[in-house]
Symmetry: C2
Subunit: 121 residues, 2 copies
């Protein structure tokens, strides 16, 4: 059985499942409402399979409201993955710093060359 | 072919690959050094396959230093996924706020009950 983090990342590795999470980020929804936008490209069982993957990964939960069982986004399921990511933040910030530094050098060189050619004219 | 985000999350959905990224977060390493801790549980081709998944997902890059080709963590590859996550931050923060509020209520009730039973004693 995969570990929790692997299950989370695996659940996120699909555009349909991410679209379902995006829908749920706007509020609770029941399965038929969630399924609607996808039924042109896939069957209802395929949709419910995706929902089960999200549920097993702890990314959504089925709540209970009278006889209605809407799905709800479970933010805590994402937190673990986000915490893992956070550890690597310095690396993308560093790489953008390097890019910025490089662009500054290029711009400075271009300015210097512009001045030079201006002097020669 | 999967989209970039799906490829990133899919690459992260494996403990060996995450361990490789953790190793690279400490500095560049060549393939044989990276492979070493895993060779007890898997073959060298299995290790290089994992590295290829990470490389295709843009999470590591092979640099060139003389005749040496060390692997390096590519933070920018993670940024896209982290940005996606960031959109959901409010949800885990909310769920912790809810938990905190619940715990406060429980503690307050317990205190009130403690006082009550104190009065009765």
């Amino acid at each position: 059985m995969p570990d929790t983090l692997s299950r989370t990342f695996s659940a996120l590795a699909d555009p349909t499942r991410r679209a379902m999470l995006a829908r749920l980020s706007k509020g609770k929804a029941n399965v038929s409402d969630l399924a609607k936008p996808f039924l042109k490209e896939m069957s209802l069982p395929a949709v419910t399979k995706h929902l089960k993957v999200l549920e097993k990964a702890g990314l959504i939960t089925k709540t209970r409201e009278a006889q209605w069982r809407p799905c709800e986004l479970n933010g805590r399921g994402l937190k673990h993955a986000a915490d893992w990511m956070e550890h690597y933040r310095q690396f993308w910030e560093e790489s953008f710093d390097r890019l910025e530094a490089y662009l500054k050098t290029v711009t400075a060189k271009q300015k210097a060359q512009g001045k030079k050619s201006g002097r020669h004219a």
